[in-house]
C-alpha cells in the first residue's frame, strides 16, 4: 500500500541490455544488467538523490522511470498508476507530469531554436497554449521563474553561458507543470562557481512549486546538499538508502563509507585529521557482476558469506535500509 503522498513507486526494477555477437548469425551472448532489482519510493515535495559511480545504473534508472528505455521487469507506479507496460502513446499524458533535466546544457538544446521556442515547444506539442498571447505569457513567466530576462527569449542557445543554458533546460522542463523532475547530473558540467546558482534554483523552485525531484549525480557532496533522502547505488543495485543527515553521520554500508571517505573536504585542517581509508580496485563489469554481494571484491570488511550469498535489502528503521551481511545478526 502506498501512502497518498507517494509520487513514485519503483519495485524490483530491472533493465538488462542484450549483448550481441556474430556478424551473420547474430545471437545474444550475454546481458548487461544495468539495473538489477531496484526498489524505492519518492514522496511528494521531496528530493531523492541517486548516487554512485559509473556503471551503477543511476542514469538508466532515471531513463527507465520515464520509459525512455525498455524495462526488462519490475513495476513503476507514478501517482498511483502502474505505467510499467505503457507504450509511447499511453505515456504521452504521463510525460507531461514527469520531466527530465540533462547534464549537458550544450548538447541538449537545439542550436537552431530560439529560447522562446525551446521553452515553449512542450506547450505546443501537448496543446497547452490556446493562443499566441497565452503562449508568450507562459514562456515569459517560465523564463522569469528560472531567473532569465524577458529579452533573452529571442536569442539562441550559443549566446548563453553554461549556467544560463541549464536554466533554459529547467524552464523547458517546467513548461507543462510537472509533478516530478528527474535531474541527471544537472550541475556536473558547470563551473564550480556556477553550480551553487543552479542548485539554489532547484531548491527555490521546489519550495515554490511543490516539485518532487530525483537528483542523479556522482558528487555526493552536492547530492547530500540538495536531497532529503539518498540512495547509494553500486553495479545495478541500491546498497543503502537513508535520510541525508544519517547517511553522513553513520553510513552503514562499507561502500557508502568508502564513497564518503574518497571525497575530500575543502579544508586542509579537517583533511589532515581525517582517516584516509581508500578502497582498492575499480567497479567490475556489469556484464559479469561478482557473485554474492557485488561489492565483495572491493570490500574491506568482506566475509565468507559475502562471496556467495547476495545480501537482501534490510530495513533498519528511521527510513534507512541497507543490503549488507554485516547487519545480518541485528
Amino acid at each position: 500500500m502506498s501512502a497518498p503522498d507517494t509520487v513514485l513507486e519503483v519495485k524490483d526494477l530491472k533493465v538488462h541490455f542484450p549483448v550481441m555477437a556474430g556478424a551473420v548469425m547474430r545471437r545474444q551472448v550475454g546481458s548487461v544488467k544495468a539495473v538489477d532489482g531496484v526498489s524505492f519510493d519518492v514522496r511528494r515535495g521531496e528530493t531523492l538523490g541517486l548516487v554512485g559511480e559509473s556503471g551503477c545504473g543511476k542514469s538508466t534508472t532515471g531513463l527507465a522511470i520515464l520509459k525512455m528505455i525498455d524495462i526488462t521487469s519490475g513495476e513503476v507506479k507514478f501517482e498511483g498508476e502502474d505505467i510499467s507496460s505503457y507504450d509511447r502513446s499511453r505515456m504521452r499524458p504521463i510525460r507531461r507530469r514527469m520531466q527530465m533535466v540533462y547534464q549537458d546544457p550544450f548538447g541538449s538544446l537545439n542550436p537552431r531554436m530560439k529560447v522562446s521556442e525551446i521553452v515553449g515547444e512542450p506547450l505546443e506539442v501537448h496543446g497547452m497554449a490556446s493562443n499566441r498571447a497565452a503562449y508568450d505569457a507562459r514562456v515569459a513567466s517560465l523564463l522569469d521563474m528560472v531567473g532569465l530576462l524577458p529579452d533573452m527569449a529571442d536569442r539562441y542557445p550559443h549566446e548563453f553561458s553554461g549556467g544560463q543554458r541549464q536554466r533554459i533546460g529547467i524552464a523547458r522542463a517546467l513548461a507543462l507543470d510537472p509533478a516530478l523532475i528527474i535531474c541527471d547530473e544537472p550541475v556536473s558540467a558547470l563551473d564550480v562557481s556556477i553550480q551553487a546558482q543552479v542548485v539554489n534554483l532547484f531548491q527555490e523552485l521546489q519550495e515554490r512549486l511543490g516539485l518532487t525531484y530525483i537528483f542523479i549525480a556522482h558528487d555526493l557532496a552536492v547530492v547530500r546538499h540538495i536531497s532529503h533522502r539518498i540512495a547509494v547505488m553500486y553495479l545495478g543495485r541500491i546498497v543503502e538508502i537513508a535520510p541525508r543527515s544519517e547517511l553522513y553521520a553513520k553510513p552503514l554500508h562499507p561502500y557508502t563509507q568508502a564513497l564518503l571517505a574518497a571525497i575530500p573536504i575543502p579544508d586542509p585542517e579537517v583533511e589532515a585529521s581525517r582517516p584516509q581509508q581508500i578502497i582498492t580496485g575499480e567497479v567490475p563489469s556489469a556484464m559479469r557482476p561478482p557473485p554474492g554481494c557485488r561489492f565483495h571484491t572491493r570490500c574491506p570488511q568482506v566475509m565468507e558469506v559475502c562471496k556467495s550469498v547476495d545480501p537482501p535489502m534490510r530495513d533498519r528503521g528511521g527510513g534507512r535500509a541497507v543490503a549488507c551481511h554485516l547487519y545480518d545478526a541485528a
Binding site: 562557481s193 556556477i194 551553487a196 546538499h225 573536504i265 575499480e282
Partner: protein, 337 residues
C-alpha cells in the same frame, strides 16, 4: 619572507611574469597574463581555477607545449633549476620534457599511443633520455608498474592501452612520468575523468610517489577538496591571472581575495549541515576576449568599487600570502563575509 626551509636555496621552479596569448577571430586573447610563482623541491603546488582561468595554459607554457600559431608565449621567464626554459633550443627543451619534467594529462587515452604496448611506452623515455638498453628499460617498466600498484606487472607490460580501465591507464601514465625520476611532475586535472573512489586512489598514489622521489608536483584542478587534501601551496587563478597565492592552510583559513572567499562559500561540504542555502558567486566566469578593465573579477564581486577599474597588483597581504585585491587588507575575516 620565506619559510626557513626555502631560505636554503633558490626555488626549483620560478615562473616570472609569464604571459601567453592566442590569436583568435576576435583578436589577441591573453590566456595567461603576468603569472608568477615559485615552487620548491618536493613541494606540491595546486593551481586552482575554473574554465578560462589560464591554469592549463600556464602548465603547457612551462613545458613550451603551446601550439604556435595560434599561441605564443609573449613575456616572462620560466626558470627551472637555474635555467630559463623559454630561451632553450627545441632540442634542449625536448631533453627536459618527459625527463626532468614530466606531465600527466586528464585523458590518459589521448596521451598514450594506442598501437604500442604499455611497457614499450614506459620504457621509451628511459631508453631515449638515459640511453638504457631496451631490455633493461623494459625491466624498469615492470618495476615502475609495480610501484604504481599495478598487479601482475610482468604480463601487463605486454598489454595495449585499450585493454586497461581508466584508472589503470592513469597508473600507467604515472609510471611513465616517473620513468626518468623527474624533479617536477605537472598533473593537469589527472583524475577528473575517473570515478570518485579511483580518483582518491590515483591522487594518493601520485602524492606518495612524488614524496618518495622528492619530486615537486604541480596539481592543476578545479576541485577545492582535492587542493585541501593534497597541496602544500595554492595559486588561485581567475581570468588568466593569479589572484591569490600562499600556503594551503593559510589560504583556506584566511582567504584574502573575494573570488576565493566566494568559491569556498559556494561549494557544499560533507562535514557541514546540509540543506542550508549555498552562497553562489553571481554571473559567469569571464570571457578572455572581453575582459573588463582593471580587476577581472569586479563584475561578479560584491565589494567592487570605483578603484576596481584599476588593475590590482598581486601584493603581500600577510607573511607568505599574496592577494590581488584592492581590499585585501579588509578581507582578513573568515569565509562567509
Amino acid at each position: 619572507m620565506r619559510t626557513g626551509a626555502r631560505l636554503m636555496g633558490a626555488p626549483l621552479l620560478s615562473v616570472k611574469g609569464l604571459s601567453t596569448e592566442f590569436r583568435t577571430e576576435r583578436g589577441v586573447v591573453k590566456a595567461v597574463d603576468d603569472v608568477s610563482f615559485d615552487l620548491a623541491a618536493g613541494e606540491t603546488l595546486a593551481i586552482v581555477g575554473e574554465s578560462g582561468s589560464g591554469k592549463s595554459v600556464t602548465a603547457m607554457s612551462i613545458l613550451r607545449l603551446i601550439p604556435d600559431p595560434p599561441g605564443r608565449i609573449s613575456a616572462g621567464e620560466v626558470v627551472f633549476d637555474g635555467q630559463n626554459l623559454l630561451t632553450l633550443s627545441d632540442e634542449e627543451i625536448r631533453a627536459i620534457r618527459g625527463n626532468r619534467i614530466a606531465m600527466i594529462f586528464q585523458e590518459p587515452m589521448s596521451s598514450l599511443n594506442p598501437s604500442l604496448t604499455v611497457g614499450l611506452q614506459i620504457a621509451e623515455p628511459i631508453n631515449l633520455h638515459r640511453r638504457t638498453p631496451w631490455a633493461a628499460a623494459m625491466d624498469m617498466a615492470v618495476e615502475l608498474l609495480g610501484r604504481v600498484r599495478m598487479s601482475d606487472a610482468r604480463s601487463r607490460i605486454k598489454a595495449y592501452p585499450h585493454q586497461f580501465s581508466g584508472g589503470m591507464r592513469q597508473r600507467a601514465m604515472i609510471a611513465m612520468a616517473l620513468a626518468c625520476q623527474p624533479q617536477l611532475i605537472i598533473a593537469d586535472e589527472p583524475t577528473t575523468a575517473l570515478d570518485v573512489t579511483v580518483q582518491a586512489q590515483i591522487l594518493a598514489l601520485l602524492k606518495e610517489v612524488t614524496r618518495a622521489a622528492n619530486s615537486a608536483l604541480i596539481l592543476i584542478t578545479h576541485d577545492l577538496g582535492v587542493v585541501a587534501r593534497y597541496a602544500d601551496r595554492v595559486c588561485v587563478m581567475y581570468g588568466g591571472r593569479v589572484v591569490e597565492a600562499g600556503p594551503a592552510r593559510e589560504i583556506y583559513a584566511r582567504p584574502r581575495h573575494p573570488y576565493t572567499i566566494g568559491l569556498m562559500a559556494s561549494v557544499p561540504r560533507l562535514d557541514q549541515e546540509a540543506g542550508s542555502r549555498l552562497v553562489p558567486i553571481e554571473g559567469s566566469p569571464p570571457n578572455l576576449a572581453d575582459l573588463p578593465p582593471g580587476c577581472a573579477f569586479a563584475p561578479r564581486c560584491r565589494r567592487a568599487a570605483d578603484i576596481c577599474r584599476q588593475r590590482p597588483m598581486l601584493v603581500r597581504s600577510a607573511p607568505d600570502h599574496l592577494s590581488a585585491c584592492h581590499f585585501h587588507a579588509h578581507l582578513s575575516a573568515h569565509v562567509g563575509t
